[in-house]
């Protein structure tokens, strides 16, 4: 009985492998390519560490209460030491704890911004590229309008009218981020439209929706994934930029850009305050960029610089 089951499971596994042989080989090739390139490995390691730190968060630090409004005026603005690796800020909060706990906030912001941008931009891009016609033209003209100003400026304009704050900053960044995906997907979808497998799908009677989302979308997936990885880093920069000029996350939230903005007032003597949160941003963005570069080599080699 037991033997029968294991052999049944065995044949299932063999069949599964045979059916998906090409996919397995593709995964193997991708893994090989990522592991062969030291820079994308570094990127993978940084992003992995960032995710672990964001997940464990409060468990990793000595002073989890410092992420909120705790104050310890007896130890304000002390230099880095064994007790406070990155020193303390103007109300005595441990900067190391705040930087570590800031990862979760940063991850949430960049996930939401990039996620919303993909949800808005990708369907619009497929519509514009695959359906074409006057709706496509209209979508592209609207996209052009949003791409006509640098994203940061438009985001500032939006926050200026919505009012400062982390939620409004996220809304603003999402609103300026989607046009990039429309551009990317539209170009890709237009190229795919001419392919014979699309014609084949049309011949067997697939509906337009089915072709658009069942055939065109999966074939745009690689560049979308590469762009999403790059954009995770850029969204971190954008959110930190808004935090820095004072219209993003508000104190006492442990947002890296806002921390640098506060630490700036204590330069040059209390250099640690502004330095460490900035280093955290740099490392995170570098990780996402390197990972994106590596993914591009694997998934979308033709679009390399």
């Amino acid at each position: 009985m037991g033997e029968g089951m294991s052999s049944a499971a065995g044949t299932w596994w063999v069949r599964f492998r045979e059916e998906r042989q090409s996919q397995f080989r593709e995964w193997q090739r991708s893994a090989y390519a990522v592991f062969r390139n030291p820079l994308s490995l570094v990127g993978l390691a940084i992003v992995g560490a960032f995710l672990v730190v964001a997940a464990l968060g409060p468990g990793l630090v000595t002073y989890p209460e410092d992420a909120a409004g705790a104050t310890h005026l007896d130890r304000k603005l002390t230099a880095p030491s064994a007790a406070h690796w990155f020193g303390t800020d103007e109300v005595g909060r441990d900067i190391f704890s705040r930087v570590i706990l800031g990862t979760r906030l940063t991850l949430r912001i960049s996930l939401i911004v990039v996620g919303v941008a993909i949800l808005i931009g990708v369907p619009l891009g497929i519509m514009a590229g695959y359906a074409g016609g006057w709706p496509g033209e209209l979508i592209m003209r609207i996209t052009d309008v949003f791409l006509a100003v640098p994203g940061l400026i438009l985001a500032i304009a939006i926050v200026a009218s919505l009012g400062p704050g982390i939620t409004n900053a996220m809304i603003a960044l999402s609103l300026v981020w989607w046009p990039g995906y429309v551009r990317l997907v539209q170009g890709k979808a237009m190229a795919i439209r001419q392919e014979s497998f699309i014609e084949a799908a049309r011949c067997v009677g697939s509906s337009r929706w089915r072709i658009a989302f069942g055939e065109v979308l999966p074939n745009c997936a690689s560049p979308i994934r590469v762009k999403a990885s790059m954009d995770m880093g850029l969204a971190v920069l954008g959110a930190a930029g808004l935090g820095f000029i004072g219209i993003g996350a508000q104190p006492p939230a442990p947002e890296w850009g806002a921390m640098i903005s506060a630490g700036r007032n204590y330069l040059p003597d209390r250099w640690w305050y502004a330095t460490f949160p900035g280093a955290a941003i740099f490392l995170t963005v570098l990780g996402w960029n390197l990972l994106g570069d590596g993914l591009r080599d694997v998934l979308d080699p033709r679009s390399r610089l």
């Binding site: 100003v149 940061l152 500032i156 304009a157 009012g163 930029g241 330095t275």
Partner: protein, 335 residues
């Protein structure tokens, strides 16, 4: 080429019109009440209504938009709720400082980026190439305002090599205003001390603003050079016995410049956006700092104006890039 440029110009006008609509919509669907903000925290309902009337905020939205558009066409951007200054005049005062910063940063990014890119491609896989690649990977990831603070800390506050902020020494009066660019104005009026001071103040902000673009241009230029160097016409030129220097300078460079030119056009817009951060750190009196100060107090007319001015600037730069294609590539000229 002419038809193409006319079409591009038409699109530019449509896009800018669309931008006014977006910016207007953004500032009028917001929950905050601008009249209440302008009247101040202690104002009573009556005073708020007075302010609302004064700024025309009581009229229907389409009317407000058409009025705004009509004013824009006359170069009138309205008045700041915060300072009650004419926004158009403020922009005229602050824009030259920003453009001087961006032009200088662009010059650094283009000249250094293209040079580094060529060197990295010609001496590929040497240690110099690897160092340049590492720097350019890092350059794209570094938060610009943080880099600004760190360099300010190092070069201005600790080493005292350059001033830490502003456009010109406080003890010095700015050169007579002709173009609004301090470097140009001080040269035109033969004012050497002012020129030296303006240049010293400009160096650090421009370097920071150019850093990510410099990195991007270097990477792009290197890749395009390598791509072009392996083409058949280069092999042919070598076979004909042309000196390597001539091949690189005359044939490879011109072909490799075309994609880089597109990047430079895009980077110009990106730099205009970056001024917001760099000007804030270096206390540079340009439209970026103006936009930041206005946005913090929800004063949206200046922010709208800065957005539109930057949009117009960016659009014109892209038009210029399109024209330059024709200069570099004869195939574009013919179509």
């Amino acid at each position: 080429m002419k038809a193409f440029l006319i079409r591009r110009f038409g699109l530019l006008v449509i896009t800018l019109f669309g931008l006014t609509l977006v910016v207007f919509a953004v500032s009028h669907v917001a929950p905050g009440d601008p009249a209440r903000l302008a009247a101040g925290p202690d104002a009573n309902q009556e005073q708020i209504e007075l302010v609302r009337k004064e700024f025309g905020l009581d009229r229907p939205l389409p009317v407000q938009y058409l009025t705004y558009l009509g004013d824009l066409l006359r170069g009138d951007f309205g008045r700041s709720i915060r300072t009650r200054h004419e926004v158009g005049q403020d922009i005229r005062d602050f824009l030259p400082a920003t453009l001087e910063l961006v032009f200088f940063a662009m010059l650094l990014a283009v000249v250094l980026g293209i040079t580094f890119g060529i060197l990295a491609a010609v001496y590929r896989d040497t240690w110099g190439d690897h160092v340049l690649r590492l720097i350019s990977i890092g350059g794209v990831a570094v938060p610009m305002f943080w880099l600004a603070l760190m360099l300010q800390l190092l070069f201005a506050l600790w080493l005292n090599l350059v001033p830490s902020g502003g456009r010109i020494a406080l003890t010095m009066s700015p050169p007579t205003r002709l173009t609004g660019f301090f470097l140009v104005d001080s040269l035109l009026s033969w004012n050497w001390p002012a020129f030296r001071s303006a240049l010293a103040h400009l160096l650090l902000p421009a370097l920071v603003l150019s850093a990510p673009s410099l990195a991007a241009v270097t990477r792009m230029m290197r890749a395009d050079m390598l791509d072009t160097i392996s083409r058949e016409f280069v092999v042919n030129a070598r076979a004909c016995g042309l000196p390597e220097r001539l091949i690189v300078a005359k044939y490879v460079l011109k072909n490799a410049l075309i994609p880089t030119l597109t990047l430079i056009g895009l980077r110009y817009g990106w730099m205009l956006g970056g001024t917001v951060l760099v000007e804030t750190v270096f206390d540079w009196p340009g439209i970026g700092q103006y936009a930041v100060q206005s946005s913090v107090s929800s004063d949206f007319l200046p922010v709208m104006a800065v957005t539109l001015v930057i949009g117009l600037n960016f659009a014109l730069a892209n038009l210029l890039v399109d024209m330059l294609y024709g200069v570099l590539d004869p195939r574009v000229r013919q179509t």
